[in-house]
């Protein structure tokens, strides 16, 4: 089994707000992230796939295909966008980095053909990242 990781960067804005919370609860739990005008990050995404090396190609995965999937499912959908308003999954979920990792996993998982998705890592800043390994 060999693991391969591809990186990508995107910039997006978001804010944290749960309509089921009172304004005071939203403020207490989410702090500055509750500002309704939003704020932004340069996100760094690392997608790790695993598989056996194909003896004919020497590849775990076709990198061109992986890049196309990442571009279509993540970058086109999220780069230079407001996650709350432009990514449908976040109409009912808070766009925390935890949920962003889960949403990116869900978007990629069904599109992978030869290789198996192993880990999605999302850096919100160099000081904070989230890993998601799937439901198991």
């Amino acid at each position: 089994m060999v693991y391969l990781t591809r990186k990508a960067e995107f910039a997006a804005s978001h804010y944290y707000h749960n309509p089921d919370f009172t304004p005071e609860e939203n403020q207490r739990i989410f702090g500055k992230c509750n500002n309704p005008n939003g704020h932004g990050h340069n996100y760094t995404l690392e997608v790790t796939v695993k598989g056996e090396v194909d003896p004919r190609s020497g590849f775990v995965v076709d990198l061109k295909q992986l890049k196309e999937i990442l571009n279509r499912e993540v970058l086109d959908a999220m780069d230079h966008r407001c996650l709350n308003k432009e990514v449908p999954e976040f109409s009912s979920r808070i766009p925390t980095t935890e949920n962003l990792a889960i949403v990116i996993w869900q978007r990629l998982e069904t599109k992978m053909k030869a290789a198996q998705l192993h880990r999605v890592r999302v850096y919100e800043t160099p000081e904070l990242f989230v890993d998601f390994y799937g439901e198991a």
Binding site: T96, E98, N99, V130
Partner: protein, 139 residues
């Protein structure tokens, strides 16, 4: 759904590697420059990894404010700009980064209740880093 969250911190401290159970010559041979009696310092980069189910209401594994508050109070305030050799955590052990890693892990494991502690990683320099996940080992 379970996710892993990692937060990075930085603190600066000095230390001297010298074991009371070794002779002066042995200490000099084993620890080399790190045995300098006047000590030396590092900017330590600490990574704390916690895990847990993502709360549906908040979208969080744990509130970063809780983690930051705990780490600041229990780790950074304790070790930042200190001489590690003078700390009670190292009264019986050599303040190598291995032992610093296990000390930080134990403080978090015993005191931080908001999420499950997965791993502590400390980079002493750009060239070396140490990880500890408890006795179960690195997952």
């Amino acid at each position: 759904m379970k996710a892993h969250l990692t937060r990075r911190y930085m603190f600066s401290a000095s230390h001297r590697l010298n074991s009371g159970s070794l002779s002066e010559a042995e200490n000099a041979a084993i620890y080399g420059k790190c045995n300098n009696p006047f000590g030396h310092g590092h900017n330590y980069h600490l990574e704390v990894t916690v895990s847990g189910a993502v709360d549906e209401a908040t979208g969080m594994v744990c509130n970063l404010t809780d983690l930051d508050t705990f780490v600041r109070r229990e780790i950074l305030d304790r070790f930042d700009l200190e001489n590690l050799n003078t700390r009670p955590e190292f009264s019986h052990t050599v303040p190598t980064t291995e032992n610093l890693c296990t000390a930080v892990y134990d403080i978090l494991r015993l005191g931080f209740a908001h999420a499950h502690l997965e791993k502590v990683r400390i980079a002493e320099t750009m060239m070396n880093s140490f990880e500890y996940s408890g006795e179960k080992g690195i997952v």
